[in-house]
Amino acid sequence: MSSLLGLTAHQLQGLLEKKEISSEDLVKEHLTRIAQSEEQIKAFVTVTGQEALQQARTIDEKRSRGEQPGSLAGIPLALTDNLCTQGIKTTASSRMLRDFRPPYNAAVVEKLQEAGAVSVGKCNLDEFGLGASTENSAFFPTHNPYGEQAVPGGACGGAAAAVAAQEVVFALGSDTGGSLRQPASFCGVIGLKPTYGAVSRYGLIACASSLDQVGCFTRDMTDCALVMNVIYGRDAKDSTSVSFPAGDFTKFLVNDVKGLKIGIPREYLQEVNDPRITAYLQQAAAKLEELGAVCEEVSLPHTAEAASCYNLILAAEVSSNLARYDGVQYGLRVQGEDLVSMYKKSRSQGFGEEVKKQIILGTYVLSSGQYEDYYLQALKVRTLIKEDFAQVLSKYDCLLTPATPTAAFDFGAIKDNLSLLTSLNTLTCPANLAGIPALSLPFGTAAQGSPCGLQLLGRAFGEETLLRVGYALEQNTNLTQPSPAVKGEM
């Protein structure tokens, strides 16, 4: 039998349905791959091989009894370790939660289980989602499958690397300001941040509640639509989740962009450091025009303020959301002579430096005397950014931008490099501030074969257009599928 690694969910589905392969074999093959490549990649914090095999066998039994085992039945996936899994360690890559076993599943985990998808483990991230490289993980950094010296991006670098390294077929992660799209771009996979509210956040360990969304990493657009079919929709446990009337997302996978108006925000192009990325973007635009779309340069005038606005809102919400980690109900406790000293010791030893920095910044900007000067200003700028998008997207069906200013950088490069971080955030965080959907799509490679990525931004609940444009680029170019990162014989 030829290797199943690298195949997409929809390809594997066909084989599983025809019973040419079993889910157990499929999971085994991926577990073997994980065993081989983890020493190098370090994508996983926890591998749940036994549970996965057990679940795969149950799926196989169902299938052999002729039952319909679900739309993603038997397909191996990975979850970012900030998604709660009942009885299975969920750490958010923090010392604070090193031994935390939630007594509940995240809503998306339940939905995937119902669809029969098989989780093989929990992936590394920057602690609590704060970072752009996985270097802020309390455990270890993950390595980019396309180059050992390069970061996989972050926060959800583990999940992106796991998909790129063919350790799993797809993965779930979260996106607060680019945590999903940026690593997708660095690792040459597709990353989707849904419209705010489209996917339940219940059970996602909160980073910044008004920005966080759960999304997915896949290898192609069809898989993206298939995963969306499972995870989208209103959940009674998340007041900010809404029902999405799209129905079956695969129906938007049409190779037709005729008449679509696509804007290219000029402010985004200014952030790019690598001329190849600009060239790829122009190449994509030219292809779309050739296919009948109209591409025009547009302006989002408050783009330059987005990163600062984001920094303040992020920190404020982080300081609030992470206040609960105090060593009482769960998590790390470091004994102290009294309550306050226990609090301080537990939190100081449980959190890493970046987390502490964000908590202090957030506490500061929410404190009386600073609130109006910082936090309130940021909320107002957020309005301007939202309005920029509303205005442009009333005339254009979607926007085409670079996903990242560079291809994956090396370890250590982002540390104390605020301008690089600002550039990264500037390209991705506006979508979170405005709550609109954003898709990062691999498009070409930079030096040493590192993947580059483009980003599509749509109207709120306008995922349909992103799928359509992404699919058209996938069908009509050979740039959306970088060659496999890891050779089969590694």
């Binding site: 956040r201 059970g203 360990i205 919400e317 206040a323 609960r324 105090d326 009482v328």
Partner: protein, 482 residues
């Protein structure tokens, strides 16, 4: 020359909402229960959990607001109030800071016959914290504490008054009035002993005539109406003494010590709390359409003030009786229902104010738990009114009915308490008694009125007390003058 001081008090009252479930999750609000069994990941503050607003809690807050003459706010939202304490699992309390659900209400109280309007600044929704059990006798002497989160996340309304109260008695009366309104509207159990009604007071003194408020202290730990009044009386005197000696009041939180009868400093405001409020992004705002508010208004029951007016104006009760009867909804409902079954309001009021309240107090029972139903009460009063039993018997029957819950008819029968009013049956006994007591007959006829009393007594004795004394009296007089 000594300065005259004026007392300025404002109350912050917390009432636990009588919803079935907590305000942001589906755990029960039931009192008691084994520690940490009425909890879910949400009210334990576990990572990734999210609050969901209980619709009933919103409706209850609006009910309270309408009953207290508030302006119901079309737009309200939730904010996070941050502080670290082990009874607060997320280290922030979800509350309403910027846009509360109700604003600007008032209640009327009467103290020493004088009516006064007490304004409410606001009513807002928030969640309760868990409970801490301390290892020692007090928090200061404890080596450790234990946290139980069964109460964590229960729905509360906080009712904040304006500083319109000017004595401890007014404060107490105001709190009792709030209690009655919240009980009538059914939004809270309002039991201070169980903590479903809690009260903190802000209090300051200022020279009469001064328009500037004095420095206030906040008083906590008052667990009954009586302790509220005592604590405030104490604090007024304490502040007066400090001021008279030329001292200054320190702005601080003071705890009431019930046993010692004093307030003492808990912490000073210098460690100023900065709660770092901001809108909770997890909870969309509440928008109350006028139609919804009207629907809630239409469902309000008759409120204490209206009920009292009706009892006085229409049923002819005294102000005093009406005040006591309407002081609790349960008692007022008992009264109303009994009157519909036995339409003599004053008689019913006399029984309610007399025997019924006496036994309730003596037994420490609540109206809701009492075994006496309005039906039984009315049946008893009918028996008395028709002469079936005497007033004295009725009291005895009531007492047994109160203790056992038996039907009055059954008690009357079991005790053989039926009053004999039948002139034929009594006539025979009267004849017998007259024949057996010729001396008394002679005495009466000789003008000794007292002899009649003796003869009545003999008839009662013969009938084991069941004879209707009025009828016996009449029969005897008739026979003796024949």
């Amino acid at each position: 020359m000594s300065t005259e001081y004026e007392v300025v008090i404002g109350l912050e009252v917390h009432a636990e909402l009588k919803t079935k479930t907590k305000i942001f999750c589906s755990c029960p609000t039931e009192f008691g229960g084994e520690e940490n069994t009425h909890v879910c990941p949400g009210c334990l503050g576990f990572p990734g959990t999210l609050p969901i607003m209980n619709k009933k809690a919103v409706e209850y807050a609006v009910r309270a607001g309408l009953a207290l003459n508030c302006e119901i706010q079309e737009y309200s939202k939730f904010d996070r109030k941050h502080y670290f304490y082990p009874d607060l699992p997320t280290a922030y309390q979800i509350s309403q800071f910027e846009f509360p659900i109700c604003k600007a209400g008032y209640v009327e109280i009467a103290v020493n016959g004088k009516k006064k309007k007490i304004r409410l600044n606001r009513i807002h929704l928030e969640e309760d914290a868990g409970k801490l059990l301390h290892s020692g006798n007090s928090i200061t002497s404890s080596q450790y504490s234990l946290a139980d989160y069964n109460r964590s996340g229960m729905g509360l309304i906080e009712l904040v008054s304006e500083p319109d109260l000017s004595s401890a008695e007014e404060a107490r009366t105001y709190l009792e009035k709030l209690r009655a309104v919240l009980e009538y509207t059914g939004v809270s159990d309002v039991k201070m002993e169980q903590g479903s009604l809690r009260c903190d007071a802000n209090i300051s003194l200022r020279p009469v005539g001064s328009s500037k408020l004095g420095t206030k202290t906040e008083i906590k730990n008052m667990n009954s109406y009586r302790s509220l009044q005592r604590a405030l009386e104490y604090e007024i005197e304490r502040q007066r003494e400090v001021l008279e000696e030329g001292g200054t009041i320190i702005q601080e939180t003071r705890g009431w010590d019930e046993e010692k009868g004093i307030t003492s400093s808990m912490r000073s405001k210098e460690e100023a709390d900065d709660y770092r409020y901001f809108s909770d992004p997890d909870l969309p705002p509440i928008v109350l359409e006028p139609a919804w508010v009207e629907e809630i208004r239409a469902s309000l029951p008759e409120l204490p003030d209206a009920k009292k007016d009706r009892l006085v104006m229409e049923l002819g009760l005294s102000e005093y009786d009406a005040d006591i009867i309407t002081g609790s909804r349960a008692l007022a409902d008992f009264f109303d229902k009994t009157v519909t079954l036995f339409n003599e309001p004053k008689t019913v009021a006399n029984w309610v104010m007399g025997e019924y309240l006496r036994l309730l107090n003596a037994e420490g029972t609540e109206v809701q738990e009492s075994k006496v139903s309005p039906e039984k009460m009315a049946a008893l009063l009918k028996s008395q009114a028709t002469g079936k039993i005497s007033g004295k018997m009725a009291k005895a029957v009531f007492e047994e009915m109160f203790m056992t819950g038996k039907d009055p008819e059954k008690i009357i029968k079991e005790k053989g308490l039926v009053q004999i009013s039948d002139t034929d049956a009594l006539g025979e006994i009267v004849e017998k008694v007259l024949a057996a007591n010729p001396q008394s007959v002679a005495d009466y006829q000789a003008g000794k009125e007292k002899a009649l009393g003796f003869l009545v007594g003999q008839v009662m004795k013969e009938t084991k007390g069941q004879a209707n004394p009025g009828v016996v009296n009449g029969l005897l007089k008739q026979k003796l003058t024949d």
